[in-house]
Amino acid sequence: EPEVTQTPSHQVTQMGQEVILRCVPISNHLYFYWYRQILGQKVEFLVSFYNNEISEKSEIFDDQFSVERPDGSNFTLKIRSTKLEDSAMYFCASSPRTGYEKLFFGSGTQLSVL
């Protein structure tokens, strides 16, 4: 079964550094998402992306965050200057279309900001 793949599985960085989290969505999917989950807490929506632009974003997704689909297969989340509170598991998800379809989640990237 096709799956969403994320790299790296773990990322450790120093506060203030830039990080890029990578995702390869399922190949025929058109809608892409990032969610995050702080340890022991619920999953939170960050951003959705369709047709090479952001369609929705949450309050969490401030100017320090950006997303990109650089080459038609990868989907990246960049955090320009990481903060301690950015430490979380980041999940990428994709869907063939919006509405009436489940999201397919990747295995996640555990980001630790020291």
Binding site: Y35, K42, V43, F45, S55, Y100, E101, K102, L103, F105
Partner: protein, 111 residues
């Protein structure tokens, strides 16, 4: 602001017993989802419920949706240890493209 609340937050149950997890949400939504998450793992889609009165079953799990009451239930029948995980419900905001997740219910099934 859409709120999604689950109860209980933690559930410890014996194998063979039945139990129900509840998911309440605060505003109109198109769809309700149930996900399972094993420790340190990703989210596995269990059910998508699309309309009032929808009921779906897979193995020992059955999910239902009452849009008038803004309530979904996940019923566990004759629990087995393999069902131990955290279960999340999630609701999408009508007309948008994002899911709001509930607080999660951590289920432990013991012999």
């Amino acid at each position: 602001e859409l709120k999604v609340e689950q109860n209980p937050l933690f559930l410890s149950m014996q194998e063979g017993k039945n139990y129900t997890i509840y998911c309440n949400y605060s505003t109109t939504s198109d769809r309700l989802y149930w996900y399972r998450q094993d420790p340190g793992k990703s989210l596995e889609s269990l059910f998508v419920l699309l309309s009032n009165g929808a009921v779906k079953q897979e193995g020992r799990l059955m999910a239902s949706l009452d849009t008038k009451a803004r309530l979904s239930t996940l019923h566990i029948t004759a629990a087995v240890h393999d069902l131990s995980a955290t279960y999340f419900c999630a609701v999408d905001i009508y007309g948008t493209d994002k899911l709001i997740f509930g607080t999660g219910t951590r289920l432990q099934v013991f012999p």
